[in-house]
């Protein structure tokens, strides 16, 4: 009992020639990332309240909600919502209104949220307000800037750390790979239409952290093998290192995947998007450690890490 593992991902003596497919990996990754960038511009991300400003009110009506009637009531009250939609059960409604323009817009954003709540309680008595958020335009710009700042700084820290602990080639390939990972995730966000808000920034950062962690482990082994096998060509060192760490790479990505899966399934409206993006990021991050980070290292380090060529 418990004396030996029941499963392994790959047999220990298996040697897969990953570097043989390096051009393929880089090309596929580049195509996906470029496609993601295109998606980022058209149709673009669906910005959440945090970054767009405006108001969102979520309410639960006493009886099944009559969307059309609510819309009419809001129109009558002089509020022109972007969307009045059902979500979850047939008693849950979400109303979103974009931020008013012009002078005094911050104060007027706040008035709109109060008017929406008033109108709802008159049009559908017994309605319970579940969530009422109103973000002014100037705040949303700040939040956006701070979010991007956090993202950029984390990336810079990672670059510096790997540069110091490893070598320049490692740091550059890692950060390039991370940027490719991030662009793909942004593309995924554009396709799935999950709202891009502060929680999503956290998701991107987690993916960044996870992916870095994964690359550091593979790099660590590459560095070790470079010292151990002084005459082995770089290409073979990379293949060997990836294979040696393959069970660990797949094992860890599996545990993180399993941890995030219930969140995606039962996390509720706020966290489902976050966790789904995480799951995507785990797959991308794991595969890029193998197919992108190592080939880039081969490309950049061909002459520096192994002067004798490949």
């Amino acid at each position: 009992m418990l004396s030996r593992p029941l499963f392994r991902f790959v047999r220990d003596d298996r040697r897969i020639a990953f570097m043989r497919g390096r051009h393929m990996g880089l090309v596929v990754s580049a195509v996906l990332s470029v496609a993601s960038l295109l998606l980022f511009f058209q149709p673009g991300l669906k910005l959440g309240l945090d970054f767009r400003g405006g108001i969102v009110v979520e309410a639960q009506t006493a009886a099944p909600a009559n969307i059309n009637q609510l819309r009419a009531a809001l129109d009558q009250a002089g509020i022109h919502p972007d969307a009045v939609q059902a979500f979850g059960s047939d008693r849950d409604v979400r109303i979103s209104v974009s931020a008013p323009e012009g002078a005094d817009r911050e104060a007027r954003t706040q008035q709109v949220v109060d008017r929406v709540k008033d109108t709802l309680s008159k049009a559908a008595p017994g309605t319970q307000i579940q969530r009422a958020d109103a973000v002014g335009a100037s705040v949303s710009h700040e939040l956006f800037r701070n979010g991007l700042l956090a993202l950029g700084l984390s990336l810079a820290m990672i670059l510096v750390y790997i540069w110091v602990r490893f070598e320049r080639e490692f740091a550059i390939s890692a950060v390039l790979t991370l940027i490719l990972d991030l662009t793909k995730t942004v593309g995924f966000l554009a396709i799935t239409r999950f709202e891009f808000d502060l929680v999503m920034v956290a998701a991107l950062l987690t993916i960044l952290g996870y992916s870095t962690n994964d690359k550091v482990v593979v790099y660590d082994r590459i560095r070790e093998n470079l010292r151990k096998y002084r005459t082995m060509p770089l290409r073979e060192v990379l293949d060997l290192s990836i294979n040696e760490t393959l069970n660990r790479t797949l094992g860890t990505s599996m545990t993180v995947f399993l941890a995030a899966l219930p969140l995606a399934l039962f996390g509720g409206s706020t966290l489902t998007g976050f966790a789904t993006v995480m799951l995507f990021g785990i797959v991308v991050g794991t595969s890029s450690s193998i197919f992108i980070a190592a080939p880039l290292l081969l490309l950049l380090g061909k002459n520096r890490l192994r002067p004798s060529g490949e």
């Binding site: 030996r4 029941l6 979520e58 911050e106 939040l143 941890a259 219930p262």
Partner: protein, 513 residues
């Protein structure tokens, strides 16, 4: 590979401490005599409102310029000096006037030094030809703004306390903002209204001709008659001299009224003004709106009075509350509001806990299937990790939000990475033909460097996130940062201890890898 008894006790002690720190979270209300703390639930889990308020700097500057104008005039009059064409320019924050006679220049410049200022070097005086300019200084205004925010926090606190809100948190953010968190208040409309009122009460005489603006007066709306009245800019009695206010039913009209009581300074000023101006009209001005403008029939010397301005029970008691709490130095605007109802909060906790439990079970099962006995040890370490994380969060009385729970879950997924690294290393060493003890030794040693490298990068990234992030991002980063610290302990020390003990007790001939 050997763990001394002391080290063993140390590890056991840390784990026990973790359990102890966790315990209060399972109690409804832990005794206050114990040094135990509970994790605070964030508003998204508990229900409540978050308001971000911004101080209106423009209005602060405008007010200061207005009062400076009044003070300057008064000072010049007191010194028997004259002025012509006194103008105020809000856009350049400048006051300027023309000398009555060139010969008075030195006397005027000397007199201006005695104008009272709230902060040092508040304005600069420049004389060019006949014209004298007073310019408010930016740095001085910033200092005033900081004071104003500190003062506003105090007043906001008093106002919110008066509404009976439980455990509100009020804190400064940046130079000109205030964050208000109101647990359990999912409809903050009344509080927003209370905070949206400056509640600056002033008593000012009407201009000699109340239907047209004259120098030194401003047209203000009378809210009871909806007409415009010219009210003098000079404030005779200020609301800061109020000592008390209350809502009462007016004996004559039967409607609601607000009574107020002035301190001795206010009472004597009130007495002087009313004595000198019997027969004139006196405006009671609240936030640039005239509530009422009665005729002064008799001098009022008692320092108390009554405002009847078409109140109902609610508005009268709210005004009394605002007057008691004091006026805000400048208007506060709500620029961000987030409110969550209690039932949605409860649903979120439910979803979060279910996800956490399911994720935990999945990881535990996976580890046992893939790493057998060592997987089981990793699972025990994982449980210790969860306990320590909750313990540390409780110790700091950290706030747990939904993204924070996500952070915990991800830590659980990442935590076993260290165990996986160790197990894989040991397995490699076994395959190289090393003996049991050497394989264990080498496996741990070699994996440690990698574990530290990989966790250090994640740690750095999340510390950055904590420092620069806001709101949900910050909380998320906090739990992950704590999680990385506890992970290093539970994997490098605790799970290692379990394996070493197992080895010491059973002396196995084969490792379960």
């Amino acid at each position: 590979m050997y763990y001394s008894r002391l080290r063993l006790l140390g590890v056991a002690g840390v784990c026990l401490l973790g359990v102890l720190l966790c315990l209060p979270n399972f109690l409804k209300a832990p005794s206050s005599s114990l040094p135990w703390r509970q994790i605070h639930l964030g508003l998204d889990l508990k229900g409540g409102s978050y308001l971000l308020l911004q101080l209106d700097l423009k209005s602060l500057e405008h007010d200061r310029l207005l009062s400076l104008q009044d003070q300057t005039r008064q000072t010049l009059l007191d010194h028997g000096l004259g002025y012509k064409d006194f103008v105020r320019d809000d856009s350049t924050q400048r006051l300027s006037f023309t000398l009555r006679a060139d010969s008075e220049r030195d006397a005027v410049l000397a007199a201006l030094k005695s104008v009272p200022t709230a902060v040092p070097n508040e304005f600069e005086v420049a004389a060019t030809g006949e014209r004298v300019d007073l310019v408010l200084q930016h740095d001085a205004m910033l200092a005033r703004a900081r004071d104003a925010v500190a003062q506003s926090i105090e007043i906001v606190r008093r106002r919110i306390d008066a509404t009976g809100a439980i455990d509100p948190s009020i804190a400064r953010e940046g130079d000109d903002r205030i964050v208000v968190e109101l647990p359990g208040v999912s409809d903050p409309e009344r509080i927003k209204t209370l905070l949206g009122t400056t509640a600056r009460l002033t008593f000012r005489l009407l201009a000699p001709n109340p239907t047209a603006a004259s120098p030194g007066s401003t047209m203000l709306e009378d809210i009871s008659t909806h007409t415009q009245l010219a009210v003098q800019d000079h404030v005779d009695v200020d609301g800061t001299d109020l000592t008390n206010a209350g809502a009462v039913i007016d004996q004559q009209s039967g409607g609601w009224a607000v009574t107020f009581q002035l301190n001795s300074t206010g009472a004597s000023a009130f007495g002087n003004v009313t004595r000198a101006n019997v027969g004139r009209r006196f405006a009671i001005v609240l936030d640039n709106k005239v509530i009422e403008a009665p005729n002064i029939i008799n001098p009022i010397t008692a320092g108390s009075g009554q405002i009847t301005g078409g109140f109902d029970a609610r508005s009268a008691s709210d005004l009394a509350l605002l007057l008691r709490a004091g006026a805000l130095p400048a208007p506060l605007a709500v620029i961000e509001q987030r409110s969550i109802g209690p039932s949605l909060g409860a649903a979120s906790i439910h979803a979060g806990v279910i996800s956490l439990a399911a994720g935990f079970v999945l990881v535990v099962v996976f580890m046992v299937l893939f790493y057998a006995r060592f997987g089981l040890y990793a699972d025990i370490a994982l449980l210790a990790n969860l306990v320590l994380m909750v313990g540390i969060l409780s110790l700091f009385q950290a706030t747990l939000t939904l993204p924070g729970m996500a952070g915990m879950l991800l830590t659980l997924g990442m935590a076993v990475d260290a165990n996986i690294l160790i197990n894989e290393r040991i397995r490699e060493e076994v395959q190289r033909g090393r003996g049991v003890l050497q394989a264990l030794q080498a496996g741990f040693d070699r994996a440690t460097g990698t574990i530290i490298d990989s966790n250090a990068t994640a740690f750095l990234a999340h510390v950055m996130l904590f420092v620069f992030g806001t709101g949900p991002v910050k909380n998320f980063a906090l739990t992950i940062t704590i999680g990385i610290a506890t992970t290093l302990f539970t994997t490098l020390v605790f799970s290692r201890l379990l394996i070493v003990r197992w080895y010491a007790v059973t002396r196995p001939s084969k490792l379960p890898v």
